[in-house]
């Protein structure tokens, strides 16, 4: 028993040091995450850091009863493990939205529990304690409801269209003001629970009003934005008890969310600071050329037989996938096509736009899942260097991200958005069901280019046929 008590004493006296160790493991893990070769190791390093933090906390002297802790840890682990293995990777964005919401909820729940307990840690003044609780419960609740809304939109439970509430900016500012005032009153009178309730309700309303205005196409930005909110709420929780480990990790995650939001905002032509302030509505649609004017008489349709001839003559082939590919479950056939073309000595790569999936990096995971080696997955910048001397680009399930009007048409809502310059390839094969526009609603002149042919079909049968025809051509 002495031995156990001895360890417990060390754990308690040096708790902050152990948390620092955890943070170092996290940073080292993130560092390893910068290369696909070491990333898996990095994740394990990071998980190990987490284990240290949990064990050290379990040894804390203040704990009165372990019954609920053990039940909570066991049930949570089982649920986490089952969900991780059962998940269809196309639904990763929904899963992330839930993780996000849970993160916010944990932060808010612990914040409320701290408010009820009113046990101030040493070194912490009431002003500090209750301000931190106000901020923590506000961000936590905002993150929770915002993420739940994002989940409902991604899952199709509520409309993916942006719902614009009239005067939404004024309403949002009013709600925010009410929350700030309630926070100030709470600090002044910590025994009045109604101020806390006002913050919780206000944050919930604000979250709903902010996210309901966002369209389905903009969800990647929102997902990224809420990651940084989840990080900030962890940080705020750390400020309540001055847990340094939490403050540092919250900061790390907050940074990661902000970087991803900036990348997504740039890739989607949205103002980063506007998004941070909740202004996520896309730019107004202005007068643009109609589809008929652009397409009339210029669109050439092709057949799989002809398409494989084009591919046969090529040396270097780019495949540009969009989310449509994943919707059609056509990752397998597209991999088969890559394998066939490579067998024939051709160079094949995937040009992946940051918004090709429904969250940052989504398309890469979906292609890795079907065994496409990661060195074939090229980023937007890498692809645009390769595309001018690529012979054929196959565009499948993508539209706005290859729309050349983004480069020159100032009146277009996608003007200025970085695109994959497939129109610079020698020829382009577009696999698409019809000429219907993408999320932006803008017609795509690429389809009417001289060097573009359209293969009108669903992604899966079209690619399967291409593979079949190609094999026949080679035998």
């Amino acid at each position: 028993m002495d031995f156990i008590n001895g360890i417990r004493n060390i754990a308690n006296n040096y708790q902050a040091v152990f948390y620092l160790l955890t943070v170092l493991f996290f940073i080292f893990g993130l560092k390893l995450l910068t290369s696909p070769k070491t990333a898996r190791k990095g994740n394990i390093v990071s998980a190990f850091g987490m284990l240290i933090a949990i064990i050290i906390t379990l040894m804390s002297h203040g704990i009165l009863s372990y019954k609920f802790i053990i039940i909570g840890l066991l049930l949570g682990s089982v649920a986490g493990a089952i969900s991780a293995y059962a998940l269809d990777l196309r639904a990763i964005p929904q899963y992330v939205a839930i993780l996000n919401g849970f993160g916010g909820a944990v932060s808010a729940l612990v914040g409320v529990s701290a408010f009820l307990q009113k046990e101030l840690p040493e070194n912490v003044t009431p002003l500090h304690f209750y301000s931190a609780i106000s901020v923590d419960t506000f961000i936590g609740t905002l993150t929770f409801w915002g993420s739940m809304m994002a989940f409902a939109k991604l899952q199709g439970l509520i409309t993916e269209r942006p719902v614009v509430i009239p005067g939404k900016n004024i309403i949002n500012i009013l709600i925010l003001l009410i929350c700030i005032i309630s926070g100030a009153l709470l600090v002044n009178d910590p025994y009045n629970i109604y101020y806390l309730i006002a913050i919780l309700v206000g944050a919930s309303l604000l979250a709903i009003s902010l996210t309901i205005a966002v369209g389905g196409a903009d969800m990647p930005v929102i997902i990224a934005l809420f990651i940084s909110y989840a990080g900030l709420s962890a940080g705020a929780l750390g400020f309540i008890f001055l847990t340094h480990g939490l403050i540092m990790v919250g900061s790390l995650v907050g940074a990661s969310g902000m970087i991803l939001t900036r990348i997504m905002a740039k890739a989607m032509n949205r103002d980063f600071y506007g998004i941070l302030l909740g202004n996520i509505t896309p730019p107004e649609m202005s007068k643009i050329q109609s589809g008929e004017e652009i397409y009339a008489g210029r669109v050439k349709s092709t057949t799989p037989e002809e398409a494989v001839m084009i591919l046969e003559a090529a040396k270097k082939v780019a495949i540009v996938p969009g989310y449509g590919l994943a919707v059609a479950q056509a990752q397998g056939p597209v991999r088969d096509l890559m394998v066939e073309l490579e067998k024939d000595g051709k160079e094949v790569y995937f040009g992946i736009h940051p918004v090709a999936g429904r969250m940052p990096g989504h398309m890469n995971v979906l292609l890795a899942e079907v065994d496409v080696p990661y060195d074939r997955l090229k980023t937007l910048e890498e692809s645009n260097e390769l595309l001018p001397d690529t012979d054929v680009a196959i565009v499948v399930g993508a539209n706005d991200v290859v729309n050349p009007t983004a480069r020159y048409a100032k009146e277009s809502p996608i003007y200025g958005m970085p695109i994959l310059d497939v129109d610079k390839c020698r020829s382009v094969i577009v696999i698409k069901r019809s000429l219907s526009p993408g999320f932006s609603g803008v017609p795509n002149p690429l389809f009417a280019n001289d060097n573009t042919v359209m293969l009108f079909n669903d992604a899966k049968p079209a690619l399967t046929e291409l593979v079949k025809e190609y094999k026949e051509l080679k035998t």
Partner: protein, 96 residues
């Protein structure tokens, strides 16, 4: 030093480290990064453990317990799904 100021300094320093390290994560790994970030943020379970273990009123205990439960889902689910995704990223020559 005022402990609050010390905490703010830590917050800002970690933010800088975060920006430095995370900007170097390549776009192909952004989804695993997101999931792993959530698992890390769920270090909040340490506060949840304390809240549910030291709770003096039933309500505080219930709140702490709920936080612990869903926080653990985030830790375990987050790390496992990140591992599942990262195990799929293969180099060229290693065929199964």
């Amino acid at each position: 030093m005022d402990p609050l100021i010390a905490a703010l300094i830590l917050f800002v320093l970690a933010l800088i480290i975060g920006f430095e390290v995370i900007t170097k994560v390549p776009p192909i790994l952004h989804t695993p990064l997101v999931v792993a970030s959530h698992a890390m943020a769920a270090i909040m379970v340490v506060s949840a453990i304390e809240a549910s273990g030291t709770g003096k009123t039933l309500l505080a205990q219930i709140l702490g317990f709920s936080a612990l439960l869903i926080g653990t889902v985030n830790v375990v689910g987050g790390y496992l799904i990140a591992d599942r995704m990262l195990s799929m990223f293969r180099g060229d020559k290693k065929k199964k």
